[in-house]
């Protein structure tokens, strides 16, 4: 019984690690720009494809491929911000801007999914790795190797983001732009550039999470729908705009999904997640790590 419980916890942690990495990017974009990015999952899907093409054409191991998605997707994020999102963020009537942002990101999501379906066909692809079907055995507890590697990489990337935000001047400027754009502007911080930086970083992170996911999950144009709701739940659960919150939110979702199976049948696996979500919103509306002013 104890072994079973430990196995469920371990599985939940491993699943949650990648959710966490996906959610950090979403949390960062919301935290800095106040933009709810519906296309976030679609950038993850593109990250999976890039990792796939690295693996197929260059024989790059997907774990390395995931890291190699960071620079191109950072640039892509900055570009998308410059060309599209930047036009509906920062300044203007906030209510109207929010509507525009929702429409823009939803539209982006539709365009990316359908363009990918057209260009790359809906045929699922997969990267076959030796570690996807192997496990580390700790006594009776089995840890899937692909998921363990993905978990560790997710931790490393999350730690890097945390250090960047707290220890570097650029990171501090980014947080300043998030906390009070106006005051940040008075301090000589270019808020628009900070927004581009945040969006680029958010997109790069979710693309890398996609790359890690691709080590054990098939890739198809539509893969985002399976994850986007969980990402939003993670971000709100952790506290809107809080980076550590998004990370913990992701882990909690993985754990709850796994532990729900101890008491509820499989068909209700995500019910556990949403019950936990509602409970948190009821008892602590600002989320686990959110500050009081950012309640939902």
């Amino acid at each position: 019984m104890i072994a079973e419980l430990v196995q469920y916890v371990a599985t939940g942690l491993l699943v949650g690690g990648v959710y966490a990495l996906m959610s950090i990017g979403l949390g960062l974009v919301f935290g800095v720009m106040r933009v709810v990015n519906f296309a976030h999952g679609d950038f993850m899907m593109l990250g999976m494809y890039l990792t796939y093409f690295y693996a197929v054409s260059g024989r790059v191991d997907p774990l390395l491929g995931a890291v190699l998605t960071l620079p191109p997707f950072f640039l892509l994020g900055v570009l998308v911000h410059r060309a599209v999102l930047g036009r509906v963020t920062g300044g203007g009537d906030p209510a109207r801007q929010q509507d525009a942002q929702l429409i823009v990101t939803l539209g982006l999501s539709l365009i990316i999914t359908n363009a990918t379906t057209m260009l790359l066909t809906p045929t699922p692809r997969g990267i076959r790795t030796t570690y996807a079907t192997k496990a580390f055995a700790l006594g009776p507890i089995l840890l899937n190797q692909a998921r363990t590697y993905a978990f560790v990489m997710a931790l490393v990337l999350a730690a890097a983001v945390y250090l960047f935000l707290t220890r570097t001047d650029l990171g501090k400027a980014l947080r300043a732009a998030a906390d009070d754009p106006e005051a940040a502007g008075y301090q000589g911080i270019d808020v628009r550039t900070m927004h581009g930086l945040a969006f680029g970083t958010g997109i790069a992170l979710v693309a890398a999470a996609g790359g890690l996911l691709a080590t054990y999950h098939p890739i198809e144009p539509n893969v985002a729908v399976n994850f986007i709701v969980l990402m939003f739940v993670a971000v709100v659960l952790g506290g809107l705009g809080s980076i550590p919150g998004a990370f913990v939110g992701g882990i909690v979702i993985g754990l709850v999904q796994s532990l729900t199976l101890l008491v509820l049948p499989f068909q209700l696996q995500n019910t556990g997640v949403f019950i936990a979500f509602l409970l948190v919103l009821y008892l602590r509306p600002q989320g686990l790590f959110g500050r009081r002013l950012r309640t939902v």
Binding site: T121, P122, T123, E220, N222, N226, F266, Q269
Partner: protein, 402 residues
């Protein structure tokens, strides 16, 4: 300017009357294909479209529909998307926009249930390969189901595997049910769970059903490892879910034979994602698969589409288009009601219109079910799925797990 205008006007009146009409070109016959072309099941829709296009090209190349003066068939496809609502509105759109003679679709039983309601209301005959019993249990007059229904498949599949297991001295005592809760799977599992297994004295040791998508398969496969059933009845229609389960099966070293339900388990992409070693000996019960003697058909399909092999979805849709053509020939009309009546009376047992079906005969009962429809068992061997049951149609002998 005035006289010029008058001249033009006069000419416009005279010219059409003076030029003799060209040999009257027969009007195109339009067939609708409502299948998922985006979303989670887009791949299956794409496969269906390949089959339909191949049949249409053949028919038109052979001079179209003879009874209608060589009328050509054209395909009107509509995207059923990833939900019943989208499928229903797609059917509504395609059937009301222009005159459609007959329709095909929509792969997932849940979609077909919705789409056939629209077709029934608009009185357009509809051919479906979906399995769910309920599709032809509603008294509809315009719905024709060519596949054996799920509950029948369950019964026949169970008979076949218990027989195979006995012959291989591994009688089945414990069984597991693992799959999602989409309509065809539900109807396959239900009779197994409620009566069939018990009637054969087989104990049900694992019964796990999920709502797609599956977050992680560890808990399910752990139960399989702990109980070691002699057979796993398997229904994971969502590809990523299925890949997760099969990867875990390999990881945990589960050796129980896997008996799937549906053609989703024999698509080419399984080879590149889970590998042929993992797939070896996995078998599934399907409504159609290329059988002995269809090598030329398969070769043509493979050359056309660059797919590595042909499976149920393109094969059935290929035959469905041919079947509609035959019905139009018999009805001598492109009118949907006349085609429905012809389909209700049709009885053919040769040609491409029956290529997909076992036994190769199409005659529908009063509910619209194909009489005598029996399923096939297809088994992965060396990275390709082969028909192994029934023996008369098999392209390879069956192998049983050691």
């Amino acid at each position: 300017m005035r006289p010029m205008l008058a001249l033009l006007l006069a000419l416009s009146l005279v010219v059409p009357a003076a030029v003799p009409p060209l040999a009257h070109a027969a009007e195109d016959v339009k067939i609708a294909l409502v299948a998922p072309l985006s979303g989670r099941w887009a791949r299956q829709g794409q496969l269906k479209k390949m089959g339909a296009e191949m049949a249409i090209e053949e028919i038109n190349a052979q001079g179209g529909i003879k009874a209608l003066g060589g009328a050509k068939i054209v395909l009107r496809e509509a995207d059923a998307g990833d939900s019943v609502e989208k499928a229903v509105s797609a059917a509504q759109r395609v059937l009301t926009r222009e005159k459609i003679s007959a329709g095909i679709g929509s792969w997932l039983s849940s979609f077909t249930l919705g789409v056939t309601e629209v077709a029934e209301r608009l009185q357009v005959p509809w051919l479906s390969l979906s399995y769910a019993d309920s599709i032809t249990e509603r008294g509809f007059k315009y719905t024709f189901q060519t596949s054996p229904v799920s509950s029948l498949q369950a019964e026949q599949a169970l008979d076949l595997v218990t027989d195979l297991a006995k012959k291989n001295n591994r009688p089945i005592k414990k069984a597991a049910i693992v799959g999602d809760n989409t309509a065809a799977t539900v109807f396959f599992f239900k009779p197994l769970r409620e009566k069939l297994l018990a009637a054969k004295g087989i104990e049900l040791v694992v019964d796990e059903v999920w709502t797609p998508p599956l977050a992680d398969a560890t808990a399910i496969v752990q139960k399989l490892r702990a109980t070691q059933p002699d057979i796993v009845f398997y229904g994971a229609t969502n590809f990523p879910d299925s890949v997760q389960v099969l990867q875990k099966v390999k990881e945990f070293g589960v050796k129980s034979p896997i008996q799937g339900v549906g053609a989703w388990l024999v698509t080419p992409e399984y080879v590149s994602t889970v590998g042929k070693e993992t797939l070896d000996n996995i078998q599934t019960v399907v409504a159609a698969h290329p059988v002995k003697g269809q090598e030329a058909l398969v070769k043509k399909f493979v050359e056309r589409t660059k797919e590595p092999f042909m499976t149920q979805d393109p094969l059935c849709t290929y035959s469905h288009v041919w079947l509609i053509k035959e019905a139009i020939e018999q009805a001598k009309s492109a009118d949907p009601k006349a085609i429905r009546d012809a389909l209700a009376k049709i009885d053919i047992s040769s040609g491409p219109a029956v290529a997909a079906f076992q036994p190769p005969r199409v005659k529908f009962d009063e509910r619209g079910r194909r009489i005598g429809a029996t399923p096939l068992i297809v088994q992965w061997q060396g990275g390709e799925p082969f028909t192994v049951v029934p023996l008369a149609a098999a392209t390879r002998p069956v192998t049983w797990h050691k």
